[in-house]
Symmetry: C2
Subunit: 475 residues, 2 copies
């Protein structure tokens, strides 16, 4: 893109346009190993600016990559070469909280933690709580349909979005959703945008649904005996009537030990752990529910909690240290994310162990066990052939077991080449038709999400390709 | 369509093709006043038959209209003239129930009641429970994104569909969804099909999510004082932490009286009623939750339940009589269905009363108050100008109050002309693009759901138009 085009961008917008190397470096990466090569970072001032930006991008056939906190893990927010990064992290106001209608209207750059604090004060909460919740943005949650421990009970972000204001890749502004608490009006257009990784439109406002905060959230730390069948355990716990179980997390022995040894958590060193959250109406109710869970655990040969937390958030804070602890202990690794039906969990875990042994790498693992969602952390240079082999083997294994290549992180550039294997040609055709309708020039986040088209040249702006990922340099 | 075309259809399919007047009459109507003019009724034998049928329809430019129990209320399953009705009511097997994975796989013609019975025996249930649940099919629920009283807590059908097998209007067979309990893989294609009223594809199998059946479901019958603010009441009840409230229904005084006088329900004659369902872990827990609700009701000036049902299903059976009772007492009427934000409920109720007074008609009304979903039953000849005026006034009022023209029934032929007013041109453009991708020849249920195109001729099979509704004769 010619320098004159960028000058015309500066004239078209009221918001900032930056091109200094330091500004570009700040928006060139996400939580993956990929590094992009943007030509500008823009901070639109308002929706009119976003519309002007899209029009400019269409005229100049220049890719736009929306960005919040940049915590995505598969290159979702890494700009392919020649892109303009649309930085919405400054759009961080909570615009309106309406408990009487159970929703809050927020700008896309609002960080989950900030929203939760505002809601919990009023007796409400927004259930999606991905591991990155203290820094990641609601706009990013929408882009990747993020979830986290509480999706076991509450479902992913898609279930908690009531409305979106979007500027499509055509430049059309559209409000999706309804203020009516229920609606049956044709295909769900809102659900198309959630999880679309910035490839269909730029989200300028999100209306989220609220849940009443439970009076009590008990946390339980449960050591596991060796060789217990985890899938069956999870199925059985999930089937208890009136358990109030709202999260069912797993840390393998390696992860659990790393966290336990890092600081005085008081966690037992040695066994793998279950981390449970139980919601209840009051303390007595919580005690009865915990007793019911404990009986089921006992029947399955599990001794029950070694530690109970009056407030489960303390347990989640300790668990939240695992990312940092693994960073410090293992350094570079691929943070994978697959999910399978519960009866396939144990088979998948065994297969992951075999993959790691074959490649002679460590693989500390944790996961949202209640939803068959596993995060193996293969300790390997992410740019190596070994990493590519491990990824391909992991995805093949997940698909063979009727699972998915992405439980909650998204597709980005890294998994785009594998999408068609999971969806099949007819569904991929539908996806491409939706993409063509929303973004006819292919200017929105090209190279992400969609499988590379069979015969597209890598430079064609009309044909988003996964080449962006392949081209990105290592940091 | 020439008789030779129908003969070629008989050759193309293994399933039955019927053309007798009595067979056609049985599939010409739904729960609305509209009557269609089909040329054949087919009962496909298997998925291969459905594919063959779609290919035949494309070659012959003949509309296909999927049909389950035919209980839709706005003409969703009324065939426009010249259509072939695809009767799936014989596809009524429950194929597999997997409590360990929390799903059941069913044929689209399975009636909700049959599925519930099979699930409840095993300690599970499928939450959507529209008023027609004893006769309507799961395929129909998918077509209209049906909900009902329990969507207050559990959401509509869309939230409970895990997978769909579909033959698109292109003839391509596609499986949507995943057996993985969670997945983040791009735009939600499954959510496009749910609520699409048979206009995108023919559903051949549905995988539904299951919820564990609560141990206790208490029913409460609560008389309301006159002139109480219902929207505020609903907001306050919905905000209670740990109420276990799973349904919050309203019957106005006229409806309540009609039911009470019909048979020995023991209901009070006179006041409007709230019908509540409370879920609980056990009897003691239920008593505490009911006490909490009763305190909130008292603070709002409501005296509490005159009657408690140990099993809420008995309350719902009594309430389920209201349709028959209104049929007997009032006869012909328009069964409307709008929804608004809770703070707009009282204003909408007042406006509805004014509309009815202006047109000098009765309007018994009930609704799913907890979701702002109201069913005014204007007692009027549905084909009259008065009915058209009332409909237009009601939709305008709902939209003015940030609501929807369809809370749960769907759009069909009757509401298609009003869709664009609610969605706006950009969203309608997206809808049309999805339609074009799935059904390029416009053979699937033309005249339903989509707003009539600005300049389409009424006979063009390529341009679904709402003319079907207008053309249908009265029964």
């Amino acid at each position: 893109v010619a320098r004159t085009a960028v000058r015309s961008l500066e004239r078209a917008l009221r918001g900032d346009v930056e091109r200094t190397p330091s500004a570009l470096a700040r928006v060139a990466r996400d939580g993956s190993h990929l590094v992009g090569a943007p030509i500008a970072r823009v901070a639109p001032r308002d929706v009119a600016d976003v519309v002007a930006l899209v029009r400019w991008a269409r005229r100049n056939r220049t890719p736009l990559v929306a960005r919040g906190a940049g915590t995505s893990l598969d290159g979702e927010s890494v700009p392919r070469a020649g892109s303009v990064v649309v930085d919405l992290s400054g759009w961080n106001r909570i615009r309106e909280i309406r408990p009487d209608e159970r929703w809050a209207r927020v700008e896309p750059g609002v960080v989950n933690r900030k929203l939760q604090a505002a809601l919990e004060r009023r007796g409400w909460f927004f259930p999606p709580n991905p591991g990155s919740w203290e820094t990641s943005t609601i706009g990013g949650h929408v882009g990747t349909n993020a979830s986290g421990p509480r999706s076991f009970r509450y479902g992913p972000t898609r279930d908690w979005v009531r409305g979106l204001d979007v500027v499509l890749g055509t430049g059309a502004r559209v409000r999706l959703g309804s203020r009516a608490p229920k609606r049956s009006l044709g295909p769900d257009l809102l659900g198309l945008l959630v999880g679309s990784e910035g490839t269909l439109g730029l989200v300028t406002e999100v209306t989220v649904r609220l849940a009443p905060r439970p009076a009590v959230r008990r946390g339980l730390l449960v050591p596991l005996p060796p060789r217990i069948a985890l899938g069956r355990l999870a199925s059985r716990l999930a089937s208890i009537r009136g358990s109030g179980l709202s999260a069912l997390e797993y840390l393998d022995a390696e992860c659990a030990r790393a966290v336990a040894e890092d600081r005085a958590t008081g966690w037992p060193v040695g066994p793998a752990l279950l981390l449970l959250e139980v919601e209840a109406d009051d303390a007595g109710h919580a005690a009865r529910r915990v007793a019911r869970l404990t009986r089921t655990l006992a029947a399955l040969g599990v001794r029950g909690a070694v530690r109970e937390y009056d407030d489960a958030n303390r347990l989640w804070s300790q668990r939240g240290e695992s990312g940092r602890v693994l960073d410090e202990r293992y350094g570079e690794r691929i943070r994978e994310d697959v999910a399978v039906p519960l009866p396939e969990v144990d088979g998948l875990l065994a297969a992951i162990a075999r993959m790691a042994a074959r490649e002679r790498v460590s693989v500390p693992l944790f996961g949202h066990l209640g939803e068959g969602s596993l995060h193996p952390n293969f300790v390997v240079d992410p740019t190596s052939r070994k990493a590519t082999r491990l990824r391909a083997a992991l995805y093949a294994e997940a698909l063979r077991r009727h699972g998915t290549i992405s439980g909650e992180h998204g597709i980005g550039a890294i998994k785009a080449p594998y999408v068609a294997r999971e969806l099949g040609p007819a569904a991929v055709g539908l996806l491409r038709a939706v993409k063509a309708a929303c973004d006819p020039d292919g200017i929105l986040n090209p190279g992400k999400l969609y499988p590379p088209p069979p015969r597209a040249g890598p430079r064609s702006a009309r044909s988003p390709s996964a080449a962006a990922g392949a081209r990105a340099r290592r940091a």
